[in-house]
């Protein structure tokens, strides 16, 4: 709740980190230590720091916040509310289901076995995914040598003022 209702986005990120830690605690209780560790490292560590940087760089505050029309707000609330109702309705009763696995499905050893036997191909293919993402990031980030001093000015006729 604090995540959504904090006025300052930086605070809400800090609260979000606490939420992630509590989710990680749940994973530990479910005997999935590896998942818990990865969750803390990836989400609470890397992604939240990224969020913090972005928010600090964007320097969000009240004045720069774009104004959204009431109609859009109402439409968004209705859509999200309907989605929530549908999901809650469909997930109701799911708690009666029994998990079929033993207690140690979340351990690193079992995970590795699945990853390198059954899911070998997806594992290898995710290397292509990461490579593509890396190449893309380099390409977007790299300075062009032939960009003129004033970039983004290719079509001056379109910006009359």
């Amino acid at each position: 709740m604090l995540v959504v209702f904090s006025k300052n986005p930086v605070y809400s990120i800090l609260y979000l980190i606490i939420t992630f830690f509590s989710i990680a605690g749940h994973y530990v209780l479910l005997n999935a230590q590896f998942l818990a560790a990865v969750h803390v490292i990836v989400y609470a560590g890397a992604i939240m720091v990224l969020f913090l940087y972005v928010i600090m760089l964007l320097n969000l505050n009240k004045e720069t916040e774009p104004h959204k029309s009431n109609l859009a707000k109402i439409a968004a609330v209705i859509c999200a509310g309907t989605m929530m109702v549908v999901l809650v309705a469909s997930l109701r009763g799911a708690s009666q289901m029994m998990p079929n696995s033993g207690g140690n499905i979340g351990l690193v050893k079992n995970l590795g076995k699945v990853l390198f036997n059954e899911f070998l191909l997806p594992f290898e293919i995710s290397s292509i995914l990461l490579l593509a993402a890396m190449v893309g990031a380099v390409m977007v980030g790299k300075m062009d040598h032939n960009i003129p001093p004033v970039a983004n000015n290719q079509k001056p006729n379109d910006n009359n003022n």
């Binding site: 469909s90 029994m98 070998l120 191909l121 997806p122 293919i125 490579l131 190449v135 040598h145 032939n146």
Partner: protein
């Protein structure tokens, strides 16, 4: 499968080419790699098989779609030669394009949700970057950003859907998912029947994939992205990516969820009607030919959905033919747009004035592309539409077919706009380079040939 290895290998090699000082040869190497991959598919044609513990399944449908993707990419590399010669980042661009193709092959041949998701992500992430590859243009950056936001949203829906379906069936494998009663026994014996969130997962997957094929309630990103991206990238998105996304859609909803076909049919028809009406009417108002073709790309999805929702079991061959015809016409149209845009500054309809006089070859090529997209016999697009309508009438969807015919008549109006502009008097001079000329002639021949002899490519 071998084709996938070849494409990934060439992609990685394209990155190494920067180090090895082979930049000039990249296009040719990629073309050679594509030919090799197509050859592998021809060799593999008789060996229908599961690969990697049922991760991928190459049946004839998947092989045919893979071949179509590779052939279209081949022509695309030919068409987009100057996309790779104009500035830096040659290695990155070509590597990303090849990765898109690899992702597309995965989306065509997946037999496991993990592969579908990875394929889709490889495809989209590379495309986000390619859409913004013209860093000097604000529109290109805008297109990239818009595509990124919308695309990641769609991926989120798809992933949520996959997760719910996994929760219900306990498997990513589509043969287990398609027969949930078996999977259920192992996951949960407490409840009788399939949990309700199985269906919610199915719906969310439909939303995610409908984003990717740009069907109507989820098409809002399409015109801006297609217009803003560099023209070769737009061509690529309208052809290769559409083929991959639509065949993934077909596989999910005709194979995986085939048990619920009657329910899904209603939804598909709803999407289809919206797609046909909205896209065709919106396209009428466009003055930029590139944007008009973006809307037409959305509209064509409507006809494909009509075929698919009429009879999903029989439709694979027709969808294949339709996509082949559509890709051939789109490639031809965009080759012309690329030439016009390079020499006259933009792709708005009045830039096409006088094209019949100043360069008859280009004019005729554009006319053939437009006629084929509009569905005028004897071109390929006509037989695509004809097959679709025959199938839907055969399945007793007369009302929907009449609607589709009416919208395709609206289509004739806007496809004729550039043709009319070309016949008017206007600017002179338009030179075409020699490779472009051969490409135009070849694509025209293909458009006419598969229109006159549709059985040539009706392999499935």
């Amino acid at each position: 499968m071998n084709a996938l290895y070849v494409i990934c290998g060439v992609g990685v090699f394209a990155l190494l080419a920067e180090v090895l000082n082979l930049k000039k040869w990249i296009s040719n190497i990629a073309l050679a790699g594509l030919i090799a991959a197509i050859a592998w598919i021809v060799f593999d044609w008789r060996s229908v098989s599961y690969r990697f513990q049922g991760m991928m399944y190459f049946d004839h449908v998947a092989l045919a779609f893979t071949a179509l993707i590779l052939i279209v990419t081949f022509f695309w590399f030919w068409m987009a030669k100057d996309f790779f010669s104009s500035d830096e980042h040659i290695t990155e661009k070509s590597a990303l394009v090849l990765f898109v193709v690899a992702g597309a092959i995965m989306m065509v041949a997946f037999n496991n949700m993990a592969i579908l998701f990875l394929g889709l992500e490889i495809l989209s992430i590379s495309l986000y970057v390619l859409a913004g590859s013209n860093k000097l243009s604000l529109f290109s950056t805008e297109a990239s950003f818009k595509y990124f936001l919308m695309g990641s949203f769609a991926t989120g829906f798809l992933l949520f859907g996959i997760t719910l379906v996994y929760g219900a069936t306990g498997s990513f494998n589509i043969s287990v998912i398609s027969n949930p009663a078996q999977g259920m026994m192992s996951v949960a014996t407490a409840t009788q029947g399939i949990p309700r969130f199985y269906f919610i997962g199915m719906l969310l997957m439909m939303v995610g994939l409908a984003f990717k094929i740009s069907a109507v309630p989820f098409h809002l990103w399409a015109p801006d992205v297609y217009e803003g991206s560099p023209t070769p990238v737009t061509t690529f998105m309208l052809t290769v990516v559409k083929i991959a996304a639509f065949s993934a859609f077909v596989k999910i909803f005709s194979v995986t969820f085939s048990k619920y076909a009657p329910t899904l049919q209603l939804l598909e028809q709803g999407i289809m009607v919206a797609t046909l009406v909205v896209a065709n009417i919106a396209a009428v108002a466009q003055s930029n030919v590139k944007r008009m073709l973006a809307y037409s790309g959305v509209a064509q999805v409507g006809y494909l959905l009509l075929a698919f929702s009429s009879d999903s079991a029989k439709s694979a061959g027709i969808i294949f033919y339709y996509l082949a015809a559509y890709s051939a016409a789109t490639l031809l149209a965009f080759t012309v747009i690329k030439i016009v845009e390079a020499q006259r500054g933009s792709a708005s309809a009045d830039k096409f004035k006088g094209l019949f006089k100043s360069n008859p070859l280009v004019g005729v090529a554009m006319a053939i592309a437009m006629f084929s997209l509009a569905g005028i016999p004897p071109l390929a697009g006509f037989f695509g539409k004809y097959l679709v309508f025959t199938l839907s009438v055969g399945s007793h969807f007369v009302g929907l077919t009449v609607l589709a015919v009416i919208t395709s008549l609206i289509g004739v109006y806007y496809y004729f706009k550039p043709v009319v502009a070309m016949a008017q008097a206007g600017e002179n001079k338009l030179s075409v380079s020699v490779p472009d000329r051969y490409l135009l002639i070849l694509l025209m021949a293909i458009n006419i040939l598969i229109g006159i002899f549709p059985d040539l490519i009706r392999v499935i």
